[in-house]
Structure formats: C-alpha cells, structure tokens
Symmetry: C2
Subunit: 507 residues, 2 copies
Amino acid sequence: MAAHTPTNRLDKKPPPKRQVFAGTFVHSKSLTELEILHDTCVYVDEDGVIVKITTACGKGKDDVMASMGELGWDTKEVECVVFDARSDEGVGESFFFPGFVDTHIHAPQYPNSGIFGSSTLLDWLNTYTFPLEASLSSRSKAHAIYSRVIQRTLSHGTTTAAYFATIHVDSTNLLADLCLQYGQRALVGRCCMDSSSGANPDYYRDEDAAQSLERTKQCIEHCEQIDPTRELITAILTPRFAPSCTRELLGSLGKLAVDRKLPIQTHISENRSEVAWVGDLFSECGSYAAVYDKYGCLTPDTILAHAVHISEDEARLIRERGSGIAHCPVSNSALASGVARVRWMLDRGLRVGLGTDVSGGFSASVLVAAREASCVSRCVAAGMGGPSSEGRGEERDALSVEEVLYLATRGGAEVVGMEERIGGFEVGKQWDAQLVGFGRPLMRRNEGGEWEDDVEGGVEGVGVGVGPVDIFGWENWEERIAKWVFNGDDRNTVKVWVKGRLVHQRK
Amino acid sequence: MAAHTPTNRLDKKPPPKRQVFAGTFVHSKSLTELEILHDTCVYVDEDGVIVKITTACGKGKDDVMASMGELGWDTKEVECVVFDARSDEGVGESFFFPGFVDTHIHAPQYPNSGIFGSSTLLDWLNTYTFPLEASLSSRSKAHAIYSRVIQRTLSHGTTTAAYFATIHVDSTNLLADLCLQYGQRALVGRCCMDSSSGANPDYYRDEDAAQSLERTKQCIEHCEQIDPTRELITAILTPRFAPSCTRELLGSLGKLAVDRKLPIQTHISENRSEVAWVGDLFSECGSYAAVYDKYGCLTPDTILAHAVHISEDEARLIRERGSGIAHCPVSNSALASGVARVRWMLDRGLRVGLGTDVSGGFSASVLVAAREASCVSRCVAAGMGGPSSEGRGEERDALSVEEVLYLATRGGAEVVGMEERIGGFEVGKQWDAQLVGFGRPLMRRNEGGEWEDDVEGGVEGVGVGVGPVDIFGWENWEERIAKWVFNGDDRNTVKVWVKGRLVHQRK
C-alpha cells in the first residue's frame, strides 16, 4: 500500500496565538486533595505552554486584559476566553479541568464497545476481538473507526491516549496521522504478536520475531517523520501480552526501547486463566512480571494494563523498575476479570493511572472509568476483593472523588511519562484542558433567603440543558465536582484543548 | 398548609385517542430471551391498552392503515406513529421497548445524586440524607425537586416508579399530584419512622406510632381521591426500615396493608452493620426478614430493597411470602454495602426487579442500574461475592444483557405487582413504552460489498447525533441492544408513553 499523506500536518495548523483563560480552575494538588481556584487567569503562550497564573484577577475581560501588562503581550493579539457563571456563553456554572489521560485503549476495538456477551478474556479475544482487529487491514475501515474513536475520546475530555492499534503498519500509521490531524496527544503502538503457541490466530499475527520487529520499525519511522520532536505523537512498543510473543521478540523489543528511547505498553495479570497460562508458557520466569523483566520490557516507561492479580513480589519488582499501572476498572468488571486493589498498589508505591481499555471496557470515557474505579474500590472496601484479598476489606480501600480524579489526570500523566508536561495547571506545563459546564442551577434564593422553585416546562425547559447533571444551587464546589464525576458525560465537556489548540467543542 | 390542587388532573387530559405504533419491537420473552419483532404494528385503544399486534404488516403508513379494517376503527381518528430506519423523523435506527420499572427510588434525595463521600449506610443517612429530606417541609423545595425527579426519570424511560417520599404529608401528596400531572405510573409512599431508638434524628421523625399511622392515612386518602381506581397512582405503605420503626407501627402497617389492600415497601439487609443492629433491636425475631414477617409486613405486595446479605432461611421465608426484591446495584457499590447475589436469588425463586435507589445510587436511570447489575454480577462470577459467597464464583453468576433487561421491565413489573398490566407488549397490556433511537450508522456497504467510511466532520457531524451509542452498520440487533445497555443514555430515549399518553419527548 502507498504511504499515507497526512491531510493536516502540524505545520499546516492555523498560526499559533496567545490566549488567556479566566474563570474557575480545578486540579489535583495531591492524591487526596483538589485545588479549586476561583477568579483566576491562566496565560498560555503561542506554543501552548502556561506562562503565568494569577488568582483574584477579576471577572471581566477588562480586568483580565489589564493584568496582561507585565507579560509584554500586545492585548490585540491575545484571545481571551472567560468563563464564569455570569458569562453569557450558555455554559452556566463551569470550571476548567486538566484533560484526561487514557493510559490504555485499543483503538481498533472501538466498534465492539458494549459487545462482549458473557465472555472472559481468552474467549473474548477469539470471539470478538481478533476478527475485528484483523479487518483493519482495510484502510477505509481503519479510517472510519480511528476517526471516530479520536473524535469520541476528545469529546470525553481525553487529551492524551496510549493507543494499541493492530498488527497492520499502514493502519497504525493512519492512526498516528489522524491523532496529529485531530490534535490529540497520543502514544501509538503497532501490536506485536508473533507467537504460534495458540495465543494468536493464524489469520492475524506476525510471522516471526524478525517480521514483527521490521513492521514495528516502520511505524516508529512514520511517527518520527510526522512529529520528529514527539510534540504530540510518540511511537510506543507494544508486545500484546506475554502469551502472544516469542522470547526473541520480547528481547528485541526490550533492546529497541533502550536504543530508541521508546516507551512500552503491554498487559499483565488480567485474568486468572491467563496468569496460569503465562506460568506454563514461561515456567522459567517465576512470575508474570518477571517474564517482562527478563526480556528488558519492564522499564520506567512501561505501561502495564490491568494488574488485577499481581503478587507482593511482582508489585515490588514493578516498583523497583518504575513501571506504571493502567487500572481498567470497567473492563475488569465487564470481562469478570476481578477487582484490582488500587489502594494496595498505591500503598506499595506504584504509579497508577486509568485506562478505558476499549472494548474490554465498554466506555471510551475516562470519566466513566473514574466512576467505576470508585465503585469497585468500594467493593474491595466491603471485603469483596476476592480470594487475593483474603476476605478483608477496609474503609480506606475506597477511593475518593479526589483520588479517582488524580488517577485520571496526574496519575495517568506519570504512567505515560509526561508528568512534567501535563496533568495539572502550573507554569511550564502545556495547556491540555477541558472546560466543564453544568448549566444554570434549578433553584434560586429569593429575597427572604428561601430556596425558590425555578423549574418550568419539561426537562429540556429546565436549565440550559448542557447535560445530565442537575445543580440545584446550594451545592458547594466539592459537591458539584462529585456530581460531575458520578453523573457527568460528554455533554458537560464543553470545550477541549491540547497544547493550546482547541480540539473539540460541544455543539 | 392548604391542600394542593393538582393542575393537571386525569380528567383534564386531552381527549383520548386511538394509536397505531409501527416499527421494530423488542421485549423479554423470558428471563433469558429477548423477542425482536420487525415490521410490526401495535394497536392501542383510547384507554391506552394494546388491542392488537400484527407482524409483517408492511413498513409504510398506508400498509398500517389498511390493516386497521378488522378493528372497526375509523382511520381518520387514529394517530399513526411509524418508526423505522427509513422514516424521516431524524431518529435513524430505532425500536420500541417496554418502559422501565424503577422498584426503589427516594424522590426527595434526588438533589444529592452523586454526593455521598466515602460514607456507608448509617453515617450516610445522618450526614447527607436526613437533613435534605427534612428540608422538604418546604413546599416550594418539594415542588422543584419532585418535578425534576419525575422529568428526569421519564427522560430515562422510567414509566413506573416506586417512590419513597418524606415524612411530610403535604409534600408526599404533592409528589402524587405531580406524578399524575406528568403522567408517570407511581407508587407513592410517605416515610414512616417513629422510633426514638436512635435510627431517626429528633428533628425528622414521627412522634409515635399513632401519629405515623394518622399521617399515612392522610396520604392514602389523597391518592384515592386523585386517582380512585389506581389507574396511575397507588399509595404504598412505607416503613423506612426496621430500626426506624416501633413494633407497634410495624404491626399497624401490616394490618392496614390487609384492610386497605395496599402494597408495602421497605429496606432489608443492605449493610452488615445495619443487619447486626436489627439483630440487637429485634433479638426476638431471629432474622431481619423475620422482623417484617412477624408484624405482617412480608406480603405478596411487599418490595424489599437491597437484600445484599440475606441468608438461606430469609430467602426461603421471602419466597414463601411472595415478596419481591428491588436489586439496587449502583447504590450497593456506591455505599460499599456489598455485592448482591442475583443469580442466587433467582435460583431460589425470588422475584427480582431493579431499583436506582437514588441517592444511595447516584443515577436516576434504570438503564444505568441494569448496566451495573451486569457488572457486579461479573464480580460475583469472578469469586468476589464476598464472605457470604465463600469465595466461590461461577460463570453462570454473570447476568446477561437479556437478563438485566428482563429485571428492568418484567421483573420490575412483578415486584410492584403489575405484571398483568405492564412489562411487555401483549394484547391486554397497557402501552407503557419507550422509543429507543440510535441515529444513522457510521458506515455503509458500497456497490462492491465493502464497508465504506461514511464519516465527515466532527463528532456532531457524524450520524444524526441522537446519542452516545455508535452504530457502524454491521451490528446485528442483539449487538445493537447490547450497545444501548452499556453505552446508551437519555439521548437514546426519544419518546416515552404511559398508558398510551406521550409523557416525554427528546428535544
């Protein structure tokens, strides 16, 4: 197939501009604490980098403009984006929040979202997943699916995604092109799967380690060609999971990671049958984590998806190597893989982010993953962590709203090795952000201080209809944010920016 | 306070009309099987009752009209509602589905949806719930909240709801009025809570059994006045939960249920501390279920919410009495109550429906409850059913899409004692239904039989934007329905009818 010519290369983007964002900003101060900054301005330069943050900067455009003096910016050349409850943009109550990081998503599986029957991992792969992935040899199919998954994840506020693609070079390169075109920050990995041990179907695998490596290099070249400095797009080495790969391939990828300074992503310990199988296939290694370690695939830039059933020893090894965990709660529930013990991981010093794991996970939304992370952590707290928890559960196993939002942003940024660039609002970080809007509150205080019914007409007649979250008017900001986490959806994600560029806007 | 005058009594509704609905119909044939009927017409008379169903009746309005002869209906007086993929209503692919039954929802708690922190049942009641419920002594607040919860639940396709209100007579009667006005089928219960044992706060309880009973009777009178034949509105006796009630009150309510032929709703065995507490408070009874049974509150028309930790003996007793279970998976997860074993209940012959349990449950959508019922059943299957499951889990513990949709419709109808009237599409049943729409598929087959990219523009530019579910075009109907269950929301619920009356329409 002919090489793909990107239709919207970085160098064809509209000329960069300076921007000021004003309103309420919310981000993680620590794992357990959100910082909520009102009447704040964030100044973003022409490279999409935050250069100044001022609090108590006033609420009108004039106040904002006036405070621009010391930056030496010509106010005529600056775009000013002000959102607060009094702005008339139809957004109502709103706040800026860091873009979400999806640390684990299979782009080609997106059309199967919600389709998994009563299968578990290994039969799910053969029944639903491999046939669909194999069909992405079709460029037109890949184009439709990849365009859609990028549009949808952006609409959910995902500004960075670590994508598994398929084994196909051309389709994988197309995914990288489309991420660049739509402006999503992405790690793009061609699936490496060369084993003939039964893990991979004959109709869908690399022939051998040499071919797998060669194809992988073609994808790396492509990414480095379209985005040489890895501004948005980074190639990522992607051994599917241990049973899919020969020892030769794993070793080659481990070496390549060092030679080319590339991250790695794979799966670990998702399902008990899989864990037992790995034990058989790699009996010399002692544990699942030890397999990856033996072949140089457990690095500080490795993303390990799932880790539901890892042992104390494995946790220690992963901690020592500095690899990160992609916690995929929706997928773990859907495929009956089990309940990952996130508090247990955090206690052991592991870095943890969230993954949607489409389509083992049925939702492409990191907000939904955060919600489910909270729910399943409460099952662990109730003593339902399964045999590996030995029937124990403690109140502190429950993850708070603050904690799941940390995992969705800063935690994810750490896992994909970008914690210096994204995940929060600080000078020097890039402007990867979403504007979250609630609409108008449903009630108001009357002159006597009583809450007064402000409801008219049907559902659509109430508020400005931006989404599924009802704000009555008396909630504090912590409560508003909790409402967003548990009932919000893409309707609340009003605008999304990556590196200063507006990449999604709710219509 | 003056008695409320309903603004839209049944007798003020627009004159009844005959209707024909045509398109694809999906409903439960059995617990494990959905029936999918294409090119089908359902004829609904002026009382909102299905009088005829014809399959293979053609797709155009003319075909439908022509088939009306044998009913003796004058076609000029019949409204014809046709939806199929080719109709130009902007709905795209669509199907009719029975309205959902929410077997357990606390209407006054709706504003707290998503607000529960890291609390569990007993502290959640004191911290979040009682203060909000107590504030519904304000009629204007009750009006706003109750209007909103009815609008929202209708928008989620809930055609029947079993509501807990508050202790306030006036607000409870207002809820009944509003259900009637908006046209939602409802069981409306004033909360009975007279105990001074510490379960109820002093600022929010009935003074004694006599007062509780007297207030309850006022609510029963009101419901019987506004809807004497219980066409839509039924009063339901609502002892909050055993710890809230004196033995005298429980006994009086049990007797009243018989005297007035009234259903009962309450909670059972939601949380381990609660179970232990009931054991202390009612040590003479032997079990939580036995408390309700001793005082005549375990009837064939009793709805028991949660039942997470019930024993074999309790299951047997509940089965013998014929009471139903409201399974509330979202709430059980959110409040870390545990994972209810639905397969275990079904195996024991218990009737089970779904409850949103707002606001212990954070979502007012029965579709979300169905989704979470599926997810938590897979945790049970993975051996995470907690100590009471003794670490065992079996594949068959997982609930299928078909099963959770049964629970959401026919199962719920059984639990609220309305299985003869609602829950599926049969002649003699009432037309309680929702039209579910997906929009236009994203891809199409070209002349060569290949799937072709049909994607243009951004997310909003693709399909007709009716909702969060992407149909690519190759999915079969079972797969489309699974996609709806796992990713659908109120945007897919295009229209909703109760007893033949259009009560919600997506705008």
